[in-house]
Amino acid sequence: MEFSDEAPKLMMLLYGLVAFAVVVGGLLVLLDVVPAWFARRREAALLAAASAGAVRTGAAPPSRRRSVANRREGGLGLFFLLPTLLLLVVGLIVPAVRTTLLSFMDGNSRNWVGLKNYTWMFAQDEIFSVLTNTLIWVILVPLVATAVGLVYAVLVDRARFESAAKALIFMPMAISFVGASIIWKFVYAYRSGEYAQIGLLNHVWKMLGGEPQQWLSNPPLNTLLLIVIMIWIQAGFAMVVLSAAIKAIPAEIIEAARLDGVSPWQMFWQITMPSIRSALIVVVVTVSIATLKVFDIVRTTTNGNYDTGVIANEMYNQAFRFGQTGQGSALAVFLFVLVIPIVIYQVRNLRKQREV
């Protein structure tokens, strides 16, 4: 590492921080100075109006003053919102609309092709298998991750080493998907049968009498093994949220049930489960959406080869590697369309809850 290589980067960081100070500080100063200036001007105007109006009528000024005050608040509010709104419009809203338009155009974004990109998705065998893979991901990851998280949360609840035990499961949340993929790729590592294995899975498999496998090159098993990585990451999230929900169950209910002599099994199904229903739904929804967008794991482990592609990965390949902007955009739009029903379900669920 040469310092001369790193200096420009650190300069960039410095510029970034200075820009931050200038933008945010400047905004705050602007918000302070500008309204104060307006206030002074308005005061002067009011004074002038008052001295002039005192001769004619005393009724008009109050209503006018209120309308002036309202307008000022509106302008001020917009000022507070200005950076956010500007960035959202430039960085999210306009691009999203453009992506939608691009999805009806060809690879060079020159000619309109109608629905061709969408029919292509379902007609092409490879892409169809990408869609099926995504479906498998979205079904398995939320189910298994939530189940593991729930079981673990119930088991360690009020156990002696609860916080340490929870931290162990929760830790993968802090690890990047890339890091997690390398961790698991190492578990799945393969060497041919005559050598000692370095991957844990093949080691165990060999001890059980199996022949070492190239796990990540064998469909459909490899998709399942990639799903394991995602479950490993997401179970901690499920566990933390569900554990908080379990702790929020009123102690009286639990005591009452215990006095009635319910078994732990009944307690779980009849007290715990109904009480944490809403948290369960939130976890499943959140994990489902995260799973729909999964990209890093597939990219790092197999790069979508060996029949492991998912929508987000294929979208990246089409749009940024093959230069097929239209097809990539169509996949992005399809991803968006898949998210919508999940969100609608959750919003309806939340609303139902508020009414109860």
Binding site: K9, L85, L155, L200, A251, F336
Partner: protein, 322 residues
């Protein structure tokens, strides 16, 4: 919702249990070795992969490539050579991760600060300044959370490289960022993508501040900017910390945005991009992959372990309400 205010998370619960129930609890625990067994099995399965990687990263190259990491316990041989090489090695195949580590830093810090400041301002305006259409703007920002960032990638990249135009009339010029300048693109993209969630989380918090406090300050003649700076900011520090950690982990661990907006060059690409590349092209160089992966993991792990409480609080506020 009942789950939004859990009692002190990840700390031993302080339930009013007398000595009798505690004895009963211990008996119940002892009676239930199955439960203990299952939880230990899950904990072990969840920890072993990371542990294996950690142990391997300290083993000599020949050992990693020929024997499993579990043999290190019977035949311990450890070295720091892998870290030395993957961080500072001269050959192009060695990783040279030190430079990428700095890139990750340069990308992450502004990408956390900008959305934090802008979202705090917006959250304040949306909760405490009266103006027409306020609720609609809030609902709009809230709804933007569900737009996958994949929807924005292609046009945003062309916005940077070609500028924006409407019906052939150019509105903004191309940014033409080269080398280190690409950091600006990444900051911009991360800030845009973080804002909906940030505004939502902070709005949850800011709008819960006591109304009396705000009104008292208004009556005393404090302007909105003054209230924001001297009353609101100090009060929402926990929420800022929660979102800050959230965003830090997200940006540090991100691959997709960096891949597209920072490119693969060693001037701007972060650790994740470099590691993904190494995992693809040098898939069997485990001495580099294990130590490299650990280098990328260690910073978020420290942040996470030291600030876990804030992080969990943020997660619950966002996840459970979201």
């Amino acid at each position: 919702m009942t789950t939004t205010t859990p009692p002190a998370l990840l700390t031993p619960p302080t339930r009013p249990t007398g000595p009798e129930t505690r004895a009963a609890r211990v008996r119940r625990r002892l009676n239930n070795p199955v439960a203990t067994g299952i939880s230990i099995v899950i904990a072990v399965i969840w920890t072993i992969p990371t542990f294996g990687l950690f142990v391997s990263s300290f083993r000599p190259e020949d050992e990693i490539k020929t024997t499993g990491w579990w043999t290190a316990f019977t035949d311990p041989q450890f070295t720091l050579q892998n870290y030395q090489e993957v961080l500072f090695g001269r050959s192009s195949s060695s990783g040279q991760l030190a430079g990428y580590f700095i890139n990750s830093m340069v990308i992450t810090i502004p990408s956390v600060l900008f959305p934090l400041a802008f979202a705090a301002l917006a959250a304040y305006a949306l909760s405490w300044i009266n103006f027409r259409g306020r609720d609609w703007i809030y609902i709009g920002i809230f709804a933007l959370q569900i737009v996958p960032l994949q929807m924005a990638l292609v046009p945003l990249l062309s916005f940077f490289s070609e500028g924006a135009s409407v019906f052939g009339i150019p509105l903004t010029p191309a940014w033409n960022l080269e080398d280190e300048g690409k950091f600006i693109q990444v900051w911009f993209a991360h800030t845009c993508f973080a804002l909906p969630c940030a505004v939502f989380l902070l709005h949850n918090f800011v709008s819960q501040l006591p109304k009396d406090l705000m009104e008292a300050a208004r009556v005393d003649g404090a302007s909105h900017p003054k209230i924001f700076r001297s009353i609101v900011l100090p009060l929402i520090v926990p929420a800022l910390a929660a979102f800050g950690i959230f965003q830090f982990l997200w940006v540090w661990n991100d691959l997709l945005v960096a891949l597209i907006f920072a490119g693969g060059g060693n001037e701007t690409a972060p650790l994740t991009v470099r590691l993904a590349e190494l995992a693809g092209t040098r898939a069997n160089e485990w001495q580099r992959l294990t130590s490299g992966a650990f280098i990328s993991i260690v910073v978020p792990l420290i942040v996470f372990l030291s600030l876990q409480r804030y992080f969990v609080r943020g997660l619950l506020a966002g996840g459970v309400k979201g």
